[in-house]
Symmetry: none
DNA sequence: AATGAATGAGTGTTCATTCAT
DNA sequence: TATGAATGAACACTCATTCAT
């Protein structure tokens, strides 16, 4: 019986969970929530349908878990990158770059991420509030940075909230276009252009 | 039999078509594509289900027709406003303002518009190409204006394509947030901020 | 357009409804509620599964409709027979005879009827109250007759309620046994014996 | 290794078996056969689902074992009481009283007992024959007593078989009603009434 | 013996689409 | 043209049973 770490059971269980989540991401990205079937997710994950329901109580739950999992990962990576960036400009660039990178690596996830943003306007599930927060959390990090920048006089007195959302929107649009067009190149130029536009827009 | 204009038949037919499309817009906005039912659309339009299929061959077609119809209207209104604006700055502002206005008036439609943008990344329907063009047509108008502005030296030498998409993205994000938050105010301030940011970003 | 009676549509609709109900009775009798499938009911009725749901909103509803339909018919026939019987003894005999006859003719229905009596003790559906009343209505008719008989001095002063239930139980048991054993004969002897026992039990 | 009595293994095995059976009785009574799950039975018994299948090969088997177990117990107790009763009247009363008592104590079991009686008419499982015998064994005891009573001239010349079933039916109905109504009182009056009715019905 | 993770067949219900009237 | 009854494929979710540990 292991004292530190996890039992064999727990490891296996987490592994299954990940496998299902990864399969779900693929399938949801390919088909969208409604057209995706639990059967296909199960098959993609290499397990039987019943097994999926051992780990997740409903199709919707799987979807949200996949979504949240991806957002958390993005959030964490963004946090790390921001911490390493010395100046405000560098931080903004890091924010944009991290996202471009992350979604280049996780195209499936972007489709889900972006798609769900569209559904947030639909008939309010109980979840849209949480989801809304999950999404806006990202913008709020940016907002804090900008507020700090304004206070320090690094940038002109733009309203931090709207500006943060603006950067957020620009980034999202950029990524969407990259994915739609087949994202040639490392995206350096794309990011460069975006940074140029934004910085000109907010500098002293 | 009328020689000019439409026969009684044609008028009636167009009328039915519009009614169904209007009903579809409401229902799709409320429920999303998957959760909307043809039955509900028919009922909302005040016709029988079979009648809907006399005018549209499938649910998806109704959806796309509603989408296209809305986009055309937006496009037309934008064109009119742009024509009246004297300067590049005025034109950009007109572009943004028209869209904010239009979607304020047609919230139902924005939900569909935005939602479908999310689905454009999904498994490529035959339609996504057309749809893609429908969407990007708007940005190309802007692109032309910006190219002209650069040529005339009204703005600095930004790449017109990416800049157009940037303005497009900013506008879309702004509208989405307005709708999500219940869009207080005429949106003057919102537009003002956006214009300020953009113009600073691109001016000489 | 018919002035009296029903339109062709209504006739057709009622016909379908009866067909489904009849099929349901057969299938429920053969399989029991849980093991019966809507598919089989539909197939037995000669319609598609979806059609069944045009007439009944759920499997349970079909079941209850079949049950109620049968009980109503029994109730009505019993009422007619009772009205024709001159004396109390004749009325009790009529009660028993009618039931024996009815269930001889509608064996399928008895199985449902009897089965559901068993389930009445289970976790209370919202329906068990109604169902309970539906069942006990029959006994209450008998109770009224007995009370009248006691008042007139036709029988000794037995408590009408319990006595009514007793006759009810005896009848039910008799029918069950007849069905289980393959019900030889018209049941005259069976009824005769039961009447003899009961009448001796309650006569002055 | 013990020569007389049971090995530790056997004792443990029987204990597990009883525990499962008791749990099954509760669950089947609460949910009915179809709605009960092996999972819930296992959980109620405090064992894992797999364990249940070490002792019983199928859900249906558990059900029948629980049923049989209850019937045997009732049968045994009835036998004891009958042996102590001196006269035929006393024996009949003992028969009825014992059953009322037993089911008052084992309400869960009555629900199963009664329910299954309803299902005995369904598509003949291989088991319905056994089950039928299990049920009718009780009536046959009564039949023998009545035959003896007739022979001795204690009662009039009623046919023992049908009369036995009649008493059986009356008793079952009485118990069902007691359980349905919440069984107020020790049931003395109920039994008294039933005995009065029956005895008047069969006395010389 | 005991476990509980894994399986996959089974089913009520929905709904886009068709078609006879 | 308009209707709405009929269709049947599709799908989420359940659960009895098995089996590796």
């Amino acid at each position: 019986m292991p004292v530190l770490g996890k039992t064999k059971q727990e490891v296996l269980s987490e592994f299954r969970c990940s496998e299902i989540l990864e399969a779900a991401r693929k399938v949801f990205a390919k088909k969208g929530f409604s057209q995706a079937t639990v059967d296909e997710i199960a098959h993609t994950a290499g397990v039987a349908k019943g097994t999926v329901y051992l780990y997740f109580p409903s199709k919707r739950t799987i979807y949200l878990a996949a979504l949240q999992h991806g957002i958390e990962a993005l959030h964490q990576r963004t946090g790390e990158r921001l911490a390493q960036a010395p100046t405000l400009a560098a931080k903004i660039r890091a924010f944009v770059e991290t996202r471009v990178e992350y979604f280049d690596e996780n195209r499936d996830f972007f489709k889900i991420y972006y798609s769900e943003l569209g559904n947030i306007f639909m008939a309010p599930h109980r979840l849209s509030k949480e989801l809304n927060q999950l999404y806006s959390r990202q913008a709020r990090v940016l907002e804090a940075l900008l507020a700090e920048g304004v206070r320090r006089g690094e940038i002109r007195a733009v309203p931090p909230g709207p500006t943060a959302f603006a950067i957020y929107d620009l980034t999202r649009g950029l990524i969407a276009r990259r994915l739609l067009n087949g994202a040639k190149g490392g995206g350096k130029d794309d990011v460069e252009f975006l940074m140029d536009l934004v910085w000109k827009g907010i500098e002293q």
